[in-house]
């Protein structure tokens, strides 16, 4: 069975400082891993995906994530936060097509 743990329910940063959103996963197989972002009153938008081609994955809006199999982690980072990054971020694991399992989400707060 697959599962996802997002270690922080809220992360607060100042604009221009680095962002780190943590995600650990559990999977019986080689999983697909994704980060989705949800802005207030909006749908779920794909930020990036891990597909086994490369362990460091680049996504939209300057976000990156690194897949570390030994640590079963897929943390999301960004060198410099922008006010528009304030949103809820979901780490998602999938072991095939039948389901995608969401973490509980991390709310990113960005202050000026």
């Amino acid at each position: 069975a697959q599962s996802v743990t997002q270690l922080d329910s809220h992360v607060s940063v100042s604009e221009g400082t680095p962002v780190l959103l943590r995600c650990n996963y559990s999977s019986s197989y080689s999983p697909s891993l994704f980060w989705y972002v949800q802005h207030p009153n909006k749908g779920l938008q794909l930020l990036l995906k891990y597909t086994s081609a490369a362990t460091l994955v680049k996504g939209i809006n300057g976000f990156e994530a690194e897949f570390k199999k030994s640590e079963t982690s897929f943390h999301l980072t960004k060198p410099s936060a922008h006010m528009s990054d304030a949103a809820e971020y979901f780490c998602v694991v999938s072991e095939g097509y039948s389901t995608l399992t969401f973490g509980k989400g991390t709310m990113l707060l960005v202050s000026p």
């Binding site: 697909s32 994704f34 989705y36 749908g43 779920l44 086994s52 097509y97 389901t99 995608l100 969401f102």
Partner: protein, 117 residues
């Protein structure tokens, strides 16, 4: 860019009434999903659908829920007799089928906010 569309964006219904939430997946996608997110809680899997049948369903997806692909474009979620606890945002998603499932992401719609009163 192709997108998943959901209608309506908001629906208010009385407890015990039937509701149908509609979704138009991306046209060449073959795997479809419904998820829900109760306010302040995590996104929960309800059901996946492939080749005109349910592929997998969660414990939430009981006899009150059903899904259908009535034609070549729509994918619907029906709740037969709504309860207060069904109030949530419901997301539809679709996914292409490729040789490598690791390389396919799900595309989500904007959601339908269902309020049961």
């Amino acid at each position: 860019e192709p997108e998943v569309t959901q209608t309506p964006s908001h629906q208010v219904t009385q407890m015990g009434q039937e509701v149908i939430l509609r979704c138009v997946p991306i046209s060449n996608h073959l795997y479809f999903y419904w998820y829900r997110q109760i306010l302040g809680q995590k996104v929960e899997f309800l059901v996946s659908f492939y080749n005109n049948e349910i592929s997998e369903k969660s414990e939430i997806f009981d006899d009150q829920f059903s899904v259908e692909r009535p034609d070549g474009s729509n994918f619907t979620l029906k709740i037969r007799s709504t309860k207060l606890e069904d109030s949530a945002m419901y997301f539809c998603a679709s996914r292409a089928i490729r040789d490598d499932p690791l390389n396919t992401e799900a595309f989500f719609g904007q959601g339908t906010r269902l309020t049961v009163v």
